[in-house]
Symmetry: C2
């Protein structure tokens, strides 16, 4: 049950409304956790009932009212105790891989799907890289303040690059109906990896 803690972590960094949180999940740091607006509102409600968060209504000139949530003392306590618990590697669940696994002799449909996904991941990477540029453009003090978020962004960038590489490689192999060749540095446990 980490959506709860993801929200607490975000509110601990800066108070915000439900839709603020949704936007934070979608942009940049979205890579570190991900949720729909329904889930966020449900979880905020639950957190409110447990006294982990509180809110104030804030009127806006050009938009509907917001409920600006902030973390409470109890929320911080909860967060601290959760931070000490070990994490599990997330389960991998990508329908695209299921399809590649099961794709038949005719690769046309699959190649189209790989292209579609390539475009999506390329777009996501662009967004992450823009955020990275933005971070680098800040003063050292600001960069230090946002160092942890940047570290998670860095993971997002790596992840999308890795995905794009795999998509490109896989597309080529499926199109040419070719067998993959032994990669130059594979099989040694990764000690010689480039960093």
């Amino acid at each position: 049950m980490s959506l709860k803690h993801a929200i607490l972590v975000l509110l601990d960094a800066e108070p915000g409304s439900g839709s603020d949180l949704v936007q934070r999940f979608r942009s940049g740091i979205g890579h570190f956790w991900n949720a729909t607006h329904q889930q966020v509102y449900q979880e905020l409600k639950a957190l409110l009932a447990e006294d982990r968060v509180e809110f104030e209504v804030e009127a806006q000139e050009t938009r509907p009212e917001k409920k600006v949530y902030r973390i409470t003392r109890g929320g911080r306590r909860e967060l601290r105790s959760w931070m000490g618990e070990p994490t599990k590697p997330p389960r991998v669940r990508d329908a695209l891989l299921v399809k590649v696994f099961g794709t038949a002799s005719d690769p046309a449909v699959m190649v189209a799907e790989l292209d579609r996904r390539h475009a999506l991941h390329a777009k996501q990477l662009e967004a992450y890289l823009e955020l990275e540029q933005h971070w680098f453009a800040q003063t050292e003090a600001i960069r230090r303040q946002y160092r942890n978020p940047y570290l998670t962004l860095r993971r997002g960038i790596r992840y999308e690059r890795e995905m794009l590489d795999w998509l490109e490689e896989t597309k080529l192999l499926l199109q040419e109906d070719a067998l993959p060749q032994r990669p130059a540095l594979a099989g040694t446990g990764g000690k010689e990896r480039k960093h």
Copy 2:
């Protein structure tokens, strides 16, 4: 609802029992989808009710009886129609990233957790690399037969390497309380990536 289709894809490749499927998920191709045994048995039950699979009981000398499931005609039809649908990029949900995002000034606990995860991912990578070696050791005919599973394995290998790189980098930065430097090739959209 892709666990259903992941199971159908596996059974389409080769019939098997519930615990066979769990083992396939855990080893190698486990990277392409992931489920606990409870989920697998529940889903097999549902698939049976929908006539997507059928089974025969198989006695074994040294172990309890198995129900060996195979995909039906209707199951293959279902699978074909599902293969044509577009996929969504999976949601990212890693509690470790939430913790890195929210970690406070004292990095000791976090560094220990990074080490713990590093060991887990290194072990998984080793397992994948062994499977890769096994694939390369086969005849060309066999390699061709298992090309698609190998392509998903390749994604697993890439994923774990990427994870390890990030873990190492992040550990160093947290330990030294240092600010990350601009990576040499970052910021251009990934066209110059190494493959």
